[in-house]
Symmetry: C2
Subunit: 120 residues, 2 copies
C-alpha cells in the first residue's frame, strides 16, 4: 500500500465518494486534532487522574495531594504543571501555600464518561 498515491484500493474512492467528501468537510483541522490528542494524553496517566479525583472533593495544596497519594512533592508538582498547562486545574497562592482546584466542568464530564466506559 502506498499512501502517497491515489491508487484504486478497496471500494472507497469509487463507491463511497459522498462519505469521503463528508469526511473532508467534518474532520477538524490538523492542529485541533493534535491539541485534542495532547489533552487526552494528560488524562492518560493514573497519577494525574488521581489528582483530578482528589480535586473533585476540594481544592488542595501540593503537600496535601502528595500525602494523600503517598508520593513525593516533586512528582506531584511536576504533574500539576502538566495539568495547569492544559488548563485542567487552576491555582491560587495563599502565603507559602498554593491551592489547586479544577478549572472547569469539562474535566468532570470527560472523566465520568471514561469511567462509565471502563466499568462496562
Amino acid at each position: 500500500m502506498r499512501p502517497d498515491e491515489t491508487i484504486e484500493c478497496c471500494e472507497l474512492m469509487y463507491v463511497h465518494k459522498d462519505i469521503v467528501e463528508k469526511v473532508r468537510e467534518e474532520m477538524p483541522d490538523e492542529e485541533e486534532l493534535y491539541d485534542l490528542a495532547e489533552l487526552f494524553k494528560i488524562f492518560g496517566d493514573s497519577t494525574r487522574i488521581k489528582i483530578l479525583y482528589l480535586l473533585f472533593e476540594s481544592e488542595m495544596c501540593v503537600c496535601d495531594i502528595a500525602q494523600l497519594l503517598n508520593m513525593t512533592q516533586s512528582a506531584i508538582s511536576h504533574q500539576l504543571r502538566a495539568l495547569k498547562q492544559s488548563k485542567l486545574v487552576k491555582y491560587r497562592r495563599e502565603g507559602k501555600t498554593v491551592f489547586y482546584s479544577l478549572a472547569d466542568g469539562h474535566v468532570r464530564t470527560i472523566i465520568d464518561q471514561g469511567m462509565e466506559h471502563v466499568k462496562e
Copy 2:
C-alpha cells in the same frame, strides 16, 4: 517530604479531616483508576483520534482509513488493534475486507467534551 510517614504537613490531617475521609470513600480503587488512565492513553494519539473521527461518519475498512489519513496499512492496523482492545471500535468481516465502526456512544461524548475544552 517523606510520603511514607504521617508527618504533620500543611494543615491537612488536622483541619480537613472530613475531606480526607470523603476522599478515601469516593476515590475509585487503584485498578479502576489505572484502567481509566489506560483508556485515556488510547485517546492520546492524533492518529487514533483521526481514526475515530473518520468512524463518526461511517464504518470503514482498514485500507480506506489508511488512504484517507495518508498512512500505511500497517500503522493503521496497529492503531486499530489498540482501539479494539479498549473496546472503542468493533469490527465485522466481509470477505477479505474488515469493516471497523465505533463501539458505543461514550466515544463521541468524550471526544466532543475534549474538543470543547480545547476550543476555549
